[in-house]
């Protein structure tokens, strides 16, 4: 947790983020539509990862079903826009987010009582169940044929909207991390019983984290739905999305502010690169990359980056052993 006055690390982080932001603002002028799409995908992934980071990173509850909320956001946004009221995009998106949050509260209350593996699988099951509901509730969702949103082709709109949300997400994360809520979340991750004894209403806090993650995922879903135009259960409830947001957060650094965004960027970069080079084997390579990160850099890249600032200042010496130390700590001999 940061001290009250910004440290050098934070100034550096702020500066870098600021420069990147400026870069991203002027970017669209210089990119082809296809490349812009890739950048937008990165931003949407960053948004999902930011949300997941709140429940999975800060609070330590590895939810495996957030694509469920992604899909809820997509369908709600789409259906409202297509309804007789012709709800404009942003209000529809907002409604989707609110609905997802409410559903998360309803589902979170029973499911967050479970621990570890069981919680992960239960949330996975919930997402799967959502998919099936979307598939079979023909009267509302048109089943497996899906729905088609009003067409909008200017990539810049989606890019800037996503960028705005990501920046908002960063600010929200900062605010939460510094607040009592943020402290409550890390306390829960540290030792839930101790947290209860210290006066933290763990149920309320967990549900809150889960609801926040749902809101982020739903906004991502709504954006993607509008950009994609065609929304089907198969596409919008796929496990793939959950895994991407988790991997992005892990690569970047769980429980950090910029980690999810950084991780999303790295993941998108790798994914695009691997896709072009190793098309057929690209899942293999990605799987391999996941494995390498999990073993050697389980806390992601952020600690490496912040650590390297210390190294440059001479405060710490660089040791290869540091990478291996982590491996040794988790082995069994």
């Amino acid at each position: 947790m940061p001290e009250q006055r910004p440290t050098l690390r934070q100034w550096i982080g702020l500066t870098v983020t600021g420069l990147v932001l400026i870069g991203m603002l002027i970017l669209p002028g210089y990119q082809s539509p296809y490349d812009l799409l890739t950048y937008t995908r990165f931003l949407v992934l960053a948004l999902m990862a930011q949300g997941w980071n709140l429940i999975g990173g800060f609070t330590g509850y590895a939810a495996f079903g957030n694509v469920g909320f992604f899909g809820v956001g997509a369908y709600t946004t789409g259906l409202l826009m297509l309804s007789k009221w012709h709800v404009p995009f942003f209000p529809a998106l907002f409604s989707g987010a609110v609905l997802a949050g409410l559903i998360a509260v309803l589902i979170g209350l029973p499911v967050l009582r479970l621990k570890g593996h069981y919680f992960a699988i239960a949330t996975l099951g919930v997402a799967e169940a959502f998919r099936q509901i979307a598939d079979t509730w023909d009267s509302v969702t048109q089943g497996s044929t899906g729905i088609d949103l009003p067409v909008r082709t200017d990539g810049e709109f989606f890019y800037y909207s996503a960028l705005a949300f990501v920046v908002l997400g960063i600010l929200v994360t900062i605010a939460l991390k510094r607040s009592k809520i943020g402290y409550a979340w890390v306390a829960i991750r540290g030792d839930q019983e101790a947290a209860k004894m210290l006066g933290i209403n763990t149920t309320a806090m967990k549900v809150l984290a889960f609801a926040f993650s749902a809101v982020f995922a739903a906004i991502a879903g709504g954006l993607t739905a509008y950009q994609n135009i065609h929304v089907t259960p198969g596409d919008f409830f796929q496990l793939e999305y959950t895994l991407q947001m988790i991997i992005a957060t892990i690569i970047g650094g769980t429980g950090t502010i910029l980690g999810p965004v950084l991780g999303a960027g790295v993941y998108q970069l790798l994914s695009t690169y691997v896709w072009t080079r190793f098309l057929e084997l690209h899942p293999t390579v990605l799987g391999f990359i996941i494995i390498v990160f999990i073993i050697f850099l389980p806390r992601g890249l952020m600690p490496v980056l912040t650590g390297s600032i210390d190294v440059l200042r001479g405060r710490r010496r660089f040791r290869w052993q540091a990478l291996l130390a982590n491996v040794r700590a988790h082995r069994v001999t």
Binding site: A62, L114, Y118, G125, I291, P298
Partner: protein
């Protein structure tokens, strides 16, 4: 549903439960002893299936003969995988092992996809279609054999765990790792052994499956899911629980599949979530592997 339909479905359920028990047993062992939920378990089932397919098509071996071969190969593969990969994250937080095994799954399935392509395969022999007819009910010989072989393997594993030194060492490690270590058990080796047994059993199940259903590289995922549900249903207590869970699951799966095929997944998961909330230790389970 008329009695004949009902009967046939019941027969199918029983026949299915054998293979499910086999798949779930390996999964349950690794989970119970090492506290690892191996998301790549299904991938080893797939490996077993393709190995049998390969040996049958290219070398002409009878698929039943390939079962022990497959088991040995997958035992070695599992041993190496555990020592090299899984072992690195044994004591890491759950998410790490989840993602590691998931990464492994992607890797294996995609490699299989690359080498064998995604076409549906199946292993057919002269005796593939033959079966027993009990009145209106039909019991294919291969499925019957698969049932017997599955239970035989499960029984052998159970005996191994109870009566042999390594088997008892495995159970001891599952109960109390520090106490086991104090009595001289080499935990790292036991973990590798346990994982290898798991993959070996998965491979055997895959070999059997290759003869029964058409398969492609994505077969694994559903079996990992089923293994998980079975373990939750039956609890991680002992072999008997796994069998119980498998039978229960087979019946539910087959009946729901017959009536509401589209909702079967949602239904299964709904039941799963409810079960987890109400009775996380399963119908009859205990926490450790005994």
């Amino acid at each position: 549903m008329n009695p004949v339909e009902f009967g046939q479905i019941a027969v199918n359920a029983v026949l299915l439960s054998g293979i499910l028990a086999l798949v779930a047993l390996g999964f349950s062992l690794v989970w119970g002893i090492m506290n690892i939920v191996n998301l790549s378990h299904g991938a080893f089932v797939v490996l077993g299936a393709y190995l049998t397919f390969y040996l049958h098509e290219l070398v002409g071996l009878d698929p039943f003969i390939t079962i022990p071969i497959g088991m040995v190969v997958l035992f070695l593969v599992g041993f190496v995988v555990q020592r090299v990969l899984i072992n690195q994250v044994i004591r890491a937080p759950l998410l790490a092992t989840f993602l590691l095994t998931f990464g492994l799954e992607i890797l294996i399935v995609n490699l299989v996809n690359y080498f064998f392509k995604a076409d549906l395969r199946s292993v057919t022999t002269r005796y593939t279609g033959a079966g027993l007819s009990l009145g209106p009910l039909r019991i294919p010989y291969i499925r019957l054999a698969a049932l017997f072989i599955s239970f035989a393997l499960v029984a052998v594993t159970a005996v191994f765990l109870r009566a042999t030194r390594p088997g008892r060492a495995i159970r001891a490690t599952g109960m109390d790792i520090d106490a086991a270590r104090l009595t001289g058990v080499k935990v790292a080796q036991i973990y590798a052994l346990t994982f290898a047994i798991g993959t070996s059993l998965a491979g055997a199940a895959g070999s059997l499956l290759s003869m029964i259903v058409p398969f492609d590289p994505n077969l694994g995922g559903t079996y990992t899911q089923r293994a998980f549900v079975i373990c939750v249903l039956g609890g991680l207590g002992d072999v008997g629980n796994v069998i119980l869970g498998a039978i229960l699951y087979a019946f539910v799966d087959v009946f729901v599949g017959a009536r509401l095929p589209e909702m079967s997944q949602a239904f299964t998961f709904g039941v799963l979530v409810l079960l987890l909330i109400l009775r996380p230790q399963g119908i009859a389970g205990k926490k450790f592997y005994a």
